[in-house]
């Protein structure tokens, strides 16, 4: 498929190019909606479509005013502050608990492993609306509804499965004899952990943390139910905006969030390659 051999028949040629066209269209479908908001966010008008000036690349058709609005509007600023007050704390909680548990789970003998795994992974599997509903009822009973702590705990719980999965994945290829070698050379278990295991699982921990961060940072359903005005996050503000009136500021925010995604994606890719190199796997 990769390259068309010289002996290909006309039919094969037609198929080859039409297949590539189809794939091109699907890629277009995947990426276009994300790209289209970037130019629209610079619209000088309050419209959601390309104005004549924009299509003519007239500089008058473009402006930073929606970005200005984002950075000056107290509602958006408060939402951004809240997002950055919630996501990192939730990430730290999720990463700390998740990493420990992943190491525990990767031991050779873990009683009730499958049951434990099912429980720990459940926050990722259960539909968000159900998690949100259950938490809303339960956190109401124990006085955590509408509090910062409640939202952070909920987000941390939602983020842990990702940490477990990424850290476990780095431990799968882990050669146990390295630990034994360290022990036989006189290292105690703690030293062994920090000198041998830690460097190998760090990429998994960091990518797990990134997943946990993005889970909290993007999460809207749970915070809608559990949060109060004091925990209004960026996605919440976007959701309200989308449901009520789409101010073009949303597109500016969306563009900024795409930029954040690109950064995260780059970091992850870098980590993946590093991890593979460290473990002696050939980069694919």
């Amino acid at each position: 498929m990769s390259a068309l051999p010289a002996y290909a028949s006309t039919g094969q040629r037609v198929w080859h190019y039409s297949f590539r066209t189809i794939c091109g269209l699907i890629f277009f479908f995947l990426i276009f909606p994300i790209l289209v908001i970037l130019p629209l966010s610079f619209n000088a008008q309050d419209f959601f479509t390309f104005t004549r000036e924009m299509l003519a690349f007239d500089p008058a058709g473009y402006s930073f005013k929606h970005y200005e609005d984002f950075f000056t509007n107290p509602d958006w600023q408060q939402a951004m502050r809240n997002s950055f007050a919630i996501a990192p704390v939730a990430t730290i909680l999720a990463t700390a608990f998740g990493t420990l548990a992943a190491i525990g789970l990767s031991q050779a003998h873990v009683p009730y492993r499958s049951v434990i795994m099912a429980i720990l992974i459940s926050p990722m599997i259960v539909p968000l609306i159900i998690s949100a509903a259950g938490m809303y009822f339960f956190y109401s009973r124990i006085g955590l509804q509408g509090t910062y702590v409640g939202v952070v705990l909920a987000h941390a719980a939602l983020g842990t499965p990702f940490v477990i999965i990424t850290v476990t994945a780095t431990l799968v290829g882990f050669d146990r004899s390295l630990v034994r070698a360290a022990a036989s050379l006189g290292a105690n278990p703690v030293t062994t952990f920090f000198k041998v295991q830690m460097p190998l699982i760090i990429p998994g921990v960091v990518s797990g943390a990134l997943f946990a961060f993005i889970t909290s940072f993007d999460e809207v359903v749970v915070v809608l139910f559990l949060g109060s005005a004091g925990q209004k996050t960026l996605p919440w503000q976007m959701f309200t905006g989308l449901r009520e009136q789409i101010s073009p500021t949303i597109l500016a925010v969306a563009s900024l969030m795409v930029a954040i995604s690109i950064v995260l994606l780059t970091v992850l890719e870098f980590l993946r390659r590093r991890s593979e190199r460290l473990r002696g796997l050939s980069p694919s």
Binding site: D75, Q78, S140, G143, G146, G230
Partner: protein, 366 residues
């Protein structure tokens, strides 16, 4: 003279509170142009005088009853002041979720000394309620619809007339108002509407009438949706609160006009959640006294076309704060707009809301 006393009182209260600790008050309202008018008229000037008080806004008034119930169950009250319509205020008061208010004690008297309870008069429909404005739910329509061939709707029943006025409509995703309009246009006399609606046949009749336009209707749940849909030409005619349409037509200069026919009057006002800690309650009451005095209520009308709930505020309503146009002709109560109005019976709705909601939502899904 009276004005000066007011200012002095304001300054004095500012001095009294300036020594206190800073306090955050969460105020819940409806978002959009309405919330902005409240910020402009009430909280912004209040914060200037009381730098220790900071306001956090949440636009969740449409879910106020649910959220207050959850907070009550949790014993964790995060709201300090909630803006609700009359029917919700009655419900909240009935359930003990809203604080009962002694209007004359909490609120400022009119400048001429009329006690607050007389100044608000009949609009105090519940012991827990402090009315702010009289608003109406009415229709706006686009003036540039080709398919209408120059016709413009002037009758509420034109909303149900797909032949002469084709295009998408937007209606609120709840039975209130829609059921009344449907019955009116199905030939029920104004005074019989609620009697008919009390029967199963009446409900079916109203839903059947709404059914004639169901396929062409977008259902909204936030007041800002219809203005947005009208501005984007996603709908050609839609119901919303008159003040939202005012900002769409006058401030944003969109090709939209008001259809005042059979507009439905309702009240909007404050309730204080029951069970606030003493310090927050004191701060809220302090603010309420300021925010509902004669001048403040009149000030709000500079930003949005809603009628102030105090009789003494009416003569003070003047011109729009930025555009400088007269606000009176845009008020729902203006005689030219109020030739045909519908009196909304909030007590009836407080009693029957649960019954009708269930049926309406089932109908909507099918």
């Amino acid at each position: 003279m009276k004005f000066r006393t007011l200012l002095l009182a304001g300054a004095a209260s500012a001095m009294m509170t300036s020594g206190a600790l800073a306090i955050d008050l969460t105020v819940v309202s409806w978002g959009g142009a309405y919330q902005d008018s409240q910020k402009n008229a009430y909280t912004d000037p209040y914060m200037k005088e009381n730098p220790d008080v900071n306001f956090i806004w949440e636009s969740a008034s449409n879910e106020a009853v649910a959220k207050l119930r959850a907070m009550n169950e949790a014993g964790n009250l995060t709201w300090d002041l909630v803006d609700v319509v009359a029917a919700d205020a009655i419900r909240l008061c009935d359930e003990g979720l809203a604080e009962e208010i002694d209007h004359d004690e909490v609120l400022a008297a009119a400048p001429d000394g009329t006690p607050a309870s007389d100044d608000f008069g009949d609009l105090i429909i519940s012991d827990c309620y402090i009315p702010q404005i009289v608003y109406s739910t009415t229709f706006g329509y686009r003036t540039d619809v080709d398919a209408w061939n120059g016709r413009e709707p002037d009758d509420i029943c034109d909303v149900f007339d797909l032949e002469n006025f084709p295009g998408k409509r937007s209606l609120e995703k709840r039975p209130i108002n829609n059921m009344e309009w449907a019955l009116l246009c199905d030939g029920v006399a104004k005074e019989d509407v609620y009697d008919v609606l009390e029967t199963d046949e009446g409900i079916d009749r109203a839903l059947a009438k709404l059914g004639t336009i169901k396929d062409d209707t977008i259902w909204w749940s936030a007041g800002a949706e219809t203005p947005q849909l009208l501005a984007d030409s996603e709908v050609v005619i839609g119901s919303t609160y008159n003040g939202r349409l005012f900002s769409l037509i006058v401030e944003q200069d969109q090709p939209v006009k008001m259809l005042w026919d059979a507009q439905v009057f309702d009240l909007d006002g404050w309730i204080v959640p029951a069970g606030l800690p003493d310090d927050r309650k004191a701060a809220v009451m302090e603010f309420l006294k300021y925010a509902t005095d004669t001048q403040r209520l009149a000030d709000q009308a500079k930003y949005i076309s809603y009628g102030p709930a105090r009789a003494s505020s009416a003569p003070l309503v003047g011109k729009h704060a930025e555009l400088g146009i007269d606000m009176a002709p845009h008020m729902p109560t203006d005689p030219a707009n109020a030739t045909n109005t519908f009196l909304y019976n909030y007590e009836w709705w407080a009693d029957y809301r649960d019954d009708l909601d269930a049926k309406f939502q089932a109908w909507l899904t099918q």
